[in-house]
Symmetry: C2
Subunit: 111 residues, 2 copies
């Protein structure tokens, strides 16, 4: 199936995972995957969280920022691909002056 | 972790899933996910296959083509996101005159 994010109503999540500000996302969800296009305005973050039964792949579409992954910062810019395997922890941080736009897949793998 | 596809040696897969020609890919693999950047030259295809325990998300980076998904053709161009949920079948077809470049995630969900 084709996923057209523009046809999926936006969801605004304040303080996602204890982060700053809000995340705006267009998300396709089923029992196996969350597939989303998301936006973080300057200063907004997704808080640090561990993927206990899932993982996450994030592709940066536009903007710059960083992740905190297992205690180390990784820089992000358009084209960057960040992977948080199951059992690891990360956050997503827009420390820039422009919107950070990303595509993400959160697969559920089970315990 | 950051995945830099340019630092991953390319894998050439002839007749992938019974398809035409070959797929060139740079792939990060663990027990939970295959994360890849792939290229299909004009006329090349990934053959029809069913995702019995996994699923697949494909984002088109450049070029045009189509998928055959559960018996229906879906057109693809840069920015298209195709999703094949677990239990469904698809193929990927480059019926254009230029390379089709894509990013894909194949998560394993178990039975």
């Amino acid at each position: 199936m084709l996923i057209n994010f523009e046809q999926i109503p936006e969801t605004v999540i304040p303080h996602m995972r204890g982060g700053e500000g809000q995340v705006v996302s267009h998300m396709h969800v089923d029992g196996d995957n969350k597939i989303m296009k998301g936006f973080l305005a300057p200063g907004c973050t997704i808080g640090l969280h561990t993927h206990d039964t899932s993982s996450e792949v994030i592709c940066i579409i536009s903007g710059t920022g960083k992740v905190l992954y297992d205690g180390e910062y990784e820089p992000l810019s358009a084209g960057s691909v960040h992977y948080c395997p199951k059992g690891h922890a990360h956050s997503l941080i827009n420390d820039s002056e422009e919107d950070l736009t990303f595509f993400a897949v959160v697969p559920e793998h089970g315990v």
